[in-house]
């Protein structure tokens, strides 16, 4: 009885008793969710255009953030470093297309997934070799990111909103809007959608697959950079962030592999769900359940919708 009470009644009683704490928890969940969603966005971009499940998105994020901070440490002004990092991401996209994707064209999906495992390991080694393995601090001030917090006095208590988190949400929104515009209205965007629909048909109307792949990997790299800056500002820039990036996987399958809105909604669901779970139910299990809760939430959704919330319906034929 007492166990049932602790699981089903007590957490809700706590929520009702302290609505400001609940609001704070939900806000933190939303912010975490936005950041997961940003990583998932990079996955979706690449998956839509090339059918590659890019496991290296997480390490690309760390790599981009490390490049930015590393360049700044070497004395390059912040904004120049930002430009150089974007250039580095372009070079990475070119390299990946030329050395990994092109030789592997027409291989089964699983091979391409495994190639991105290889890419992950390569980038871990390369990043550490060039910039060292020590955690670094993100250059938030130099990039004009706000710090400090806003205290809202609502619900009979105080809810603290970090300005940085608000900026992160705004940047995420801007990026999704920008990508939406890019996909719907520009020439390259149309080509991207064509490739996502059907590779061969796209090739036959004269769209260059190679060029499209470079473009999507570059776009994913820029998304990775933005994500890296935001994650880096919240904690240090280190390779430990890569494990956080794995959280984007449940987000991704929850939202559906091919849907940009799905990535955002999935991110928010996972973010809020995991924070609420950790805060209200975590103590029952000894804490730290954040590490696996996200995966279980996603699994629960998957059992009912195997293609994710917004994914394309899986049609199987012989």
């Amino acid at each position: 009885m007492s166990v049932l009470y602790a699981i089903f009644v007590d957490p809700f009683a706590q929520m009702a008793a302290a609505p400001d704490l609940l609001a704070q928890t939900i806000w933190e969940g939303l912010v975490g969710g936005v950041l997961y969603a940003l990583i998932a966005l990079g996955f979706v971009l690449i998956y839509k255009a090339s059918g590659v499940f890019n496991f290296a998105q997480g390490i690309m994020m760390v790599f981009a953030a490390l490049t930015l901070v590393g360049l700044h440490e070497k004395g390059v002004p912040a904004w120049v470093a930002l430009g150089l990092t974007i250039a580095a991401m372009y070079a990475l996209a070119l390299g990946v297309e030329r050395l990994v994707l092109r030789p592997l064209v027409n291989q089964p999906d699983i091979m391409l997934l495994m190639a991105t495992f290889g890419l992950t390991y390569f980038l871990i080694g390369f990043g550490e070799l060039v910039f060292g393995g020590n955690p670094k601090t993100m250059i938030t001030k130099e990039l004009w990111l706000p710090d400090g917090a806003i205290d809202l006095h609502i619900l009979g208590g105080t809810v603290t909103l970090q300005k940085l988190d608000i900026a992160a949400a705004a940047i995420a929104l801007a990026m999704v809007a920008g990508l939406g515009f890019f996909f719907q209205k520009t020439r390259i965007g149309r080509a991207l959608r064509a490739v996502a629909d059907d590779h061969q048909a796209a090739l036959s109307v004269g769209i260059s697959l190679e060029q499209i792949w470079v473009v999507v990997w570059f776009a994913a790299g820029v998304v990775a950079l933005a994500t890296g800056i935001m994650w880096g500002a919240r904690s240090d820039v280190s390779f430990a962030l890569q494990v956080v990036a794995l959280k984007a996987l449940p987000v991704l399958i929850l939202g559906g592999l091919t849907s940009i809105p799905g990535a955002i909604v999935g991110g928010l669901i996972i973010g809020v769900g995991e924070k609420l779970g950790e805060f209200y139910w975590g103590p029952l299990l000894g804490g730290g359940i954040e590490r696996w809760l996200a995966y279980f939430i996603a699994l629960a959704f998957l059992l009912f919708r195997p293609q994710g919330l917004f994914g394309e319906r899986i049609i199987e034929r012989i």
Partner: protein, 358 residues
Amino acid sequence: MFYREAGQFKTSYAADMAIFPIRQDRIGLALILLVAFVAIPATGNAFLLETMMIPFLILSLAAIGLNILTGYTGLLSLGSAGFMGVGAFACYKLATYFPHVNILIWIVVSGVASSAVGVFFGLPSLRIKGFYLVVATLAAQFFLDWAFARVPWLYNYNDSGAIEVSTATLFGVPVTGPNATPATRYLVALTIVCAMAWIASNIVHGRIGRMWMAVRDMDIAAELIGIRLFRAKLLAFAVSSFYIGVAGAMMVFLWLGAAEPEAFNIDLSFQLMFMIIIGGLGSIVGAFFGAAIIHLLPIGLRALPAALGLNIAGATVEQLTFMITGALIIIVLIVEPNGLARLWQTTKRKLRVWPFPY
């Protein structure tokens, strides 16, 4: 030159379908076993046995297990390290409750515990596939990883949070714990690995193996020809987790001697995945090749700068190892998507007709 099958006539169906149809192969295998069982323990020093051979054997066994799931049945899994941990902790608990039962029995029985956990986490595979399944197995990995650290019952409430192996004997000779010599532990590990590899080879060459491969190649088609996907997939999870669990128990009891929960984190899962990619998906011998490359290559790389008289910092070597491993995976995928096992087969075929091209 020596690798010719001229004069070897197959007079029965069984002889034709044998796994080693050529006499030279059988002689080669016998030689390898002779070296492994007699020459290496007799002449090898502690370093060779302790850091190279024992881990190599154990990782090979785990890779065979993962290969059954991923290579033969086509179910991607990143939860292998978690299942290894289940094997290790199950063996540890069993050995504390029943210290008088022979430890080898517990090493094998702990595979059953791992098998049960594997089947439980394999249940979603009936409904979700491909990349989606990777996430399901990641759930297993992170949950188990967390449980090893947070459930004190698993490590007998000791302060360090790690499990330690006490001495156990077999025919009066210590086989685990600090008193066991590397040679004994090596021989025990080798015996288990050989026996289990032999069993695995028989499973995958038989009806069950063909069933798994049909599921891998196209599961709907497999269902249509009368294979029950439910049973086939869960059986693959069960057998695979059994192998991985036994490997996990061996890892703690015969190799490390003590283990913290971090020993079973996701990096180990990745390493096992790399082993079967490089070695060859869907091949037993490939698991050995892959384990050799992934485990022995870093050891070789670490020794290389000193051997060449170069002065490279240890951290740099680590990073280079990461880069080389990553690059190697991509290169193998591009050059020979079926891994070293296929390369080995191609070499043998070329040798048979040498010096002619075909």
